[in-house]
Amino acid sequence: MSFDVQRIRQDFPILSQPQHGKPLVFLDSGASAQKPRAVIDAMTRCMETAYANVHRGAYRLSEVATDAYEAARGAVARFINAPDAREVVFTRNSTEAINLVAHSWGRGVMRPDQALLISELEHHANIVPWQMLRDERGNQLRVCRVTDAGELDMEDLAAKLADGKVGLVALAHMSNVLGTVTPVERVVALAHAHGAKVLLDGSQAVVHRRVDVAAIGCDFYCFTGHKLYGPTGIGVLWGKLGHLDRMPPFLGGGDMIESVSFEKSTWAKPPARFEAGTPAIIEAVGLHAAIDYVNAIGMPAIEAHERALVDHAMRKLSDVPGLTLLGRAQDRGGVFAFSLDNAHPHDLSTLLDRAGICIRAGRHCAEPLHTRFGVEQGTARASFGLYTTPEEVDYLAGALVKAREFFA
């Protein structure tokens, strides 16, 4: 299928809603993406025709809903090339998925004398759960450096793995600030050679790249539905079945047990063990629709569109006087954090909003990374989706020139 961005834009109802009387130029998809009609309709259809609680009712409607929920799990497994759908655990979002691993692997399987290794470019969601684990259990927390170009310092990574004491490496597959795509295959090979497991936060990457967990060889991979054009409230933890089998539950409740008495309960097998309580059924159906939508367009076509868009944006933004891009990684996706010399990011965001442009301002849940690059006041960030056009990038660049004049 050829990639026709104008036709794709018609799939997203919100894109035809003006903002402040101007066409919406939505450049905050890295925070949360807009939703295509197919996702909206699938969720409505589920509620109108196929909704009941899952995994319990011995009646047809519940079986239909259960089938839809489990079909979503299957779709996720195929989407990331997981060998087995039982390895796919539905969570609320990536944050919950990481907390699940920090809790159940970190406290249930890892020893306190094993170290954790993260990097300077992590989102707070991949920092704080490990700090909490460290503070509770005494695990050492190591931080891999990032180069001035915004790439993972592989020498530092190797040095911090060298003593063989690292139990788990937790790393973003793509930075939500710098756009850097990390060399995950190399990281996994290096980590495994030193006896460490690897968790990858794919919240950004899964939107922009074909992800194959089997080929990457990682131990855990997580992402969230709402950045992938799906609904909020649904995320994914993928883990190797052997790992999930060894892990104690995260939350206790219904659906995650095998048997319950007041003396003792026994746990269900994965993935049910990690899905206590009624899950996000409608949202799982929505995520399935989002994956189908992305698959129908084709990840290679999306990648090609975004690669062209990234090259275009690099040229256009570099031409804006006074603009400094944060990071210049060789391998990068459609996320651009920048400073404009005389405009504070928050003022800039307020200003661009009146021109119909939505960007994010602040530190994008990556405060240590901003400290690392000496931009404590934060940055402005434009992030792309599959519906972003080169004309929108041009409009942004023009607006930035005008904003600079406004604050001159």
Partner: protein, 159 residues
């Protein structure tokens, strides 16, 4: 000034006096002999300031100065505040602060007594912020910090 039409009604928020104080904040310095200091933080957006007050023997604010980083609105608000509170008693300064918070949140100042008129006139250019709910705390951070300094607290947060 270009860009006015392009950015719609943004002149309501970014009046010339705001841009001027944002670019060149007044009293932007450390008071080494300050009697009262407090730090103000806006943790969601990273704005941060440190306020210094020098008091007269009879309890008036002799001098006010600040240092910090933040957007044009927060810098301008802090700058205008330091100009406004000089010569006032803590009670007078706090009354202005209360009236200003009303102004920032609603664009109106029902509590503005005649005695506050001069002070409020200086602060009126910031009233446009009430149309930007996510930015109100940028304008009020300085006044939260002033309250903390006057109350002897070390830190204030706009959250």
């Amino acid at each position: 000034m270009s860009g006015g039409d392009f950015f719609g009604d943004l002149r309501d928020l970014y009046q010339e006096v705001i841009l001027d104080h944002g670019r060149k904040p007044r009293n932007f310095r450390r008071l080494e002999d300050a009697d009262r200091t407090a730090r103000g933080d806006n943790p969601m957006c990273g704005d941060r300031m440190e306020l210094f007050l020098k008091m007269t023997p009879d309890g008036h604010i002799a001098d006010a100065a600040f240092q910090g980083r933040g957007c044009a609105v927060s810098m301008a608000s802090a700058s205008l505040m330091t100009e406004t509170v000089k010569g006032k008693t803590p009670e007078e300064a706090q009354a202005v602060g209360t009236a200003f918070r009303d102004l920032a949140m609603t664009g109106q100042c029902p509590a503005c007594a005649a005695s506050l008129e001069d002070a409020m006139e200086r602060l009126t250019p910031l009233s446009g912020v009430h149309e930007f709910p996510s930015r109100v705390k940028c304008a009020t951070l300085a006044w939260h910090t002033l309250n903390a300094a006057l109350a002897g607290a070390k830190e204030a947060s706009s959250e």
